[in-house]
């Protein structure tokens, strides 16, 4: 039965809601905190900041990640920057404007109160990071520097060269290890969570596999927080790390947590194009490059001249032409779709004709090579390493790539999923970005969730849990979960088919990218669902996994991740198929305006789709959370 979901929102005007919440939230006295255990899965910005903050408050925290050190979570790869409404530039920025930009950027498909809170807490994040020693870019006078990012007209992005994610993450990693030093945090690196354990309807622990020994471990806690990042890797070729996965959230989904808007994936416009079949990932070139780089393709699809020899008149700066007021800084979904349009018209450049030019010649002439090198030096170096090309002399070739999951576990205002006691923060949840995330907003979201929101909302939940004694892991629920996990691994190992998990993943990724990527159609999605089902059947009989479960076994790890992708992929297509409108990154060919822009349908689709697991991957139940706009009136999102 389909339900209507409600996320209780605090009272008062938008700007007062979070303060009202905090004023009334329940507390746990410092003495009682040490009796409560919290599991935080994930050590990215969301997980590390949450674990550190909770430990500082006095809770006992167990922190998990699959990498060999918490510092390697994929937040580390974010380049461009982090947004905050500090208005240091005196250019008209404010919490309200940032909120509005984010809501509009997301095509009015996010929850007003959550989005406002994100903007409201943004300034504190910069304060916190600076205090931790994050070396943000500075003006010569010593004050913080800003730049602008896609989709907005103010400069509110803080950055640390092209390594903002790394530096922010090191800040929260260090805060986390500081708590390890006090004994408040226990770290479990190289541990993969494989199930959430539910006792009497509440999340009470996890099953994890020690990736160095293969041992299956049970961990109990009063509450479980998932901060396991995005699942864009489902497309196989993506800007995510090789180990990024949906497994943690998908297994939580199968235990009752709803998945919201799973098909809303941001395809980033400025990644390096695929160069061949062997390719394992796509490298992102920060969007900040669009501040100074101009995007173009040759007007003639049969163009054979080198880019430098093509005169201005024969170039089409299509973003500047189509979106004069935002130009090269048009939001990501729009830029990616525009690139795809040019590539599909045959105007793509490069050996596979799958890219567009990003040209710095004008900026270099105007500001000099040194200034450009100071702004983007490491990106130009990275480009050279990967392609062998010097971008100071020749335009970069870039192409769209799967990048960020706006969808994720459905959470309420307190960031709790539909399973009591199970929280989801950072990219793993669906909350703040609507149908399209603005650049530099997700480092922010991960941090704000972990540093400033969860410490209040989790405590509100824990307030009546102090009577619950330490969770014992010999409870039958742990037994059952452990058996489920072990049986599944055995089924992979005993299959002894002919194809590796990676080969299946590549096939699945291509299917999804073609039919549930930048452009979606009813026919395509129906076909994709059929193909994914077939592939999933084949996975059961033709998978080849070497080795055993009781040892280091990367292939076995992959097999589990791909099995989850096989199910999630179908849900993504179902979600995209049911949404008969275009909004943000979700572009249905059938629903566009005359000039080819997204046609939203607020009358019928102004809701978040929260899918419920029924035990059968092909029969999910659709629940709806209506989106109510009390403060803002949704408009047509135009960047012309």
């Amino acid at each position: 039965m389909s339900k209507t979901l409600k996320a209780p929102i605090p009272e008062g005007p938008l700007a007062e809601k979070w303060n009202n919440y905090k004023a009334k939230a329940r507390l746990v006295s410092p003495n009682n905190r040490k009796q409560l255990e919290v599991i935080v899965v994930g050590t990215g910005l969301a997980g590390a900041s949450a674990a550190a903050s909770l430990a500082e408050m006095g809770y006992n925290v167990k922190s998990f990640c699959f990498q060999d050190s918490p510092r390697r979570a994929h937040s580390v790869a974010a380049q461009g920057g982090v947004n905050a409404a500090k208005n240091y530039k005196n250019d008209g920025d404010s919490v309200y404007r940032m909120f509005y930009d984010t809501l509009k950027g997301g095509d009015f498909r996010s929850r007003e109160a959550n989005t406002y809170r994100l903007a409201e807490c943004s300034a504190s994040l910069i304060d916190q990071a600076v205090a931790q020693g994050v070396p943000f870019g500075r003006e010569y006078g010593g004050y913080l520097r800003n730049r602008s990012f896609g989709g907005v007209q103010v400069s509110r992005t803080f950055y640390a060269r092209g390594q903002t994610g790394q530096q922010l993450l090191l800040g929260s990693y260090q805060a986390l290890l500081r708590q390890q030093h006090t004994g408040k945090v226990k770290l479990y690196a190289r541990h993969e969570m494989l199930d959430v354990v539910i006792i009497d309807g509440r999340a009470r622990g996890i099953i994890a596999r020690n990736l160095d020994t293969g041992e299956i471990e049970r961990h109990g806690a009063h509450t479980v927080v998932l901060a396991t990042g995005g699942f864009g890797k489902i497309y196989y070729l993506s800007t995510l790390a090789m180990g990024c996965n949906a497994s943690a959230i998908w297994r939580a989904h199968k235990k009752g947590a709803y998945m919201a808007n799973p098909s809303w994936t941001q395809i980033h416009p400025t990644s390096l194009p695929q160069s061949g079949e062997h390719q394992s990932k796509l490298t992102l070139m920060s969007e900040s490059l669009r501040n100074d780089g101009r995007i173009w393709v040759p007007k003639d699809k049969n163009e054979t001249r080198a880019p430098g020899e093509i005169p201005e008149d024969d170039r089409d700066y299509y973003l500047e032409r189509k979106y004069p007021s935002f130009g090269n800084l048009a939001p990501r979904d729009i830029s990616s779709r525009a690139a795809k349009e040019q590539i599909d018209l045959g105007k793509g450049v490069g050996p596979l004709k799958n890219a567009v030019y990003l040209d710095f010649s004008r900026a270099i002439n105007e500001y000099g090579k040194d200034v450009i090198a100071e702004r983007y030096g490491n990106l130009f170096t990275m480009y050279k390493k990967i392609t062998g090309i010097d971008a100071y002399k020749e335009p970069m070739k870039i192409s769209p790539a799967a990048h960020f999951s706006m969808g994720g576990l459905w959470v309420d205002y307190e960031l709790m999923t539909t399973v009591p006691g199970l929280f989801a923060i950072g990219e793993a949840n669906f909350s703040d970005h609507g149908a399209n995330r603005l650049g530099a907003n997700s480092l922010l979201q991960a941090c704000v969730d972990g540093y400033f929101i969860l410490p209040y909302t989790l405590q509100n939940y824990l307030a009546d849990q102090i009577k619950i004694p330490k969770i014992e892991v010999d409870h039958p629920a742990f037994e059952e979960s452990e058996k489920l996990v072990k049986d599944q691994m055995q089924s992979f190992l005993s299959c002894k088919g002919k194809k590796t998990a990676e080969e299946f993943h590549k096939e699945l990724g291509k299917e999804l990218y073609d039919k549930c990527g930048l452009l979606r159609t009813k026919n395509g999605l129906e076909k994709a669902i059929e193909n994914i089902r077939n592939l999933r059947e084949e996975y059961k009989t033709n998978l080849l996994v070497p080795g055993s479960a009781e040892e280091v076994n990367s292939e076995l790890e992959k097999a589990g991740r791909v099995a989850d992708y096989m199910e999630l992929a179908e849900l993504m297509c179902v979600d995209a198929l049911h949404r008969e409108e275009s909004c943000g990154a979700h572009f249905r060919a059938e629903f566009q305006t005359e000039d080819g822009e997204a046609r939203r349908d607020d009358e019928n689709f102004c809701y978040s789709a929260a899918w419920e697991w029924t035990g059968n991957a092909s029969q999910p139940i659709l629940n709806r959370e209506p989106l109510v706009f009390d403060t803002v009136k949704p408009t047509v999102r135009s960047y012309k």
């Binding site: 060999d68 020693g133 160095d212 394992s280 080795g547 292939e555």
Partner: protein, 248 residues
């Protein structure tokens, strides 16, 4: 290209390891080094053999999880480049390539090319941070940091914690890693307050983890993918001595 690989295979830290030879004949110049290993692994799996275990994650040169010795050089022949960003165009048709794990007594081998580098985390745990709780921070612009200070701190903070410095040092010293963190924080007003306690804890921890002493061979700087400077080691020594003198 045709490539011959001699890869270190070792079941776990107790077992004995050895080089095994493999041949690949359809290696493209555009492949990354790790994609070349992926190709080998698919071949091995299909032959019924165990694939080569190696560490990697971001494949963008930033997470620090990858790292092997390639022909005796940490992360291979290209300067300032991690293993994952090395491409096969750096090799020639017919080359034989030796691939080994980062070897150091503080880095026990997990399997094949995978090693356990938790010892580096332990050094950070002992004091590599600013002691500030969430919520305590003052307004960000209330403590100006000059452009030069921020840039210098950044140069040290750019360390990705891969352990190449340890692997390339004949003493298996972690001095470059440790000093980079000390320098990063010591050069900022936010971190400077704790420099003297931090440096002592971190240096002591480094020794406790079984890393060797620095004898200034500077091999670490040469093979560091981030180009972290050995001047950081000088600063660490200076701060360490200063801290001990002040205690007396």
């Amino acid at each position: 290209m045709k490539i011959t690989l001699k890869i270190w295979r070792q079941r776990d830290c107790q077992s004995k390891g050895e080089f095994k030879e493999y041949h690949l004949d359809k290696v493209s110049k555009d492949m990354s080094f790790l994609e070349m290993l992926d190709t080998l692994n698919i071949k091995l799996i299909k032959q019924g053999d165990l694939p080569v275990e190696f560490d990697h994650d971001c494949r963008e040169g930033i997470c620090g999880q990858c790292g092997v010795m390639i022909n005796g050089i940490a992360h291979g022949p290209l300067k300032n480049t991690t293993t994952c960003q090395l491409h096969m165009r750096s090799f020639n048709d017919g080359d034989t390539i030796y691939v080994e794990p980062f070897k150091a007594s503080a880095f026990p081998i997990v399997r094949d090319l995978k090693v356990n580098r938790s010892a580096l985390d332990h050094i950070i745990t002992s004091g590599g941070y600013v002691s500030v709780d969430t919520g305590q921070a003052p307004e960000a612009n209330s403590i100006p940091v000059t452009f030069e200070q921020a840039e210098a701190a950044f140069d040290a903070a750019a360390c990705i914690g891969c352990g190449a410095c340890v692997a390339s040092c004949k003493n298996s010293s972690a001095a470059l890693f440790t000093s980079a963190k000390i320098s990063h924080l010591a050069q900022l007003p936010q971190g400077d307050k704790e420099t003297s306690t931090r440096v002592v804890s971190m240096v002591n921890q480094m020794e406790e983890e079984g890393f060797g002493h620095c004898t200034n061979t500077e091999a670490c700087e040469v093979e560091c993918p981030e180009g972290i400077s050995v001047l950081n080691i000088a600063r660490m020594n200076y701060e360490y001595n200063r801290s001990r003198l002040m205690k007396k």
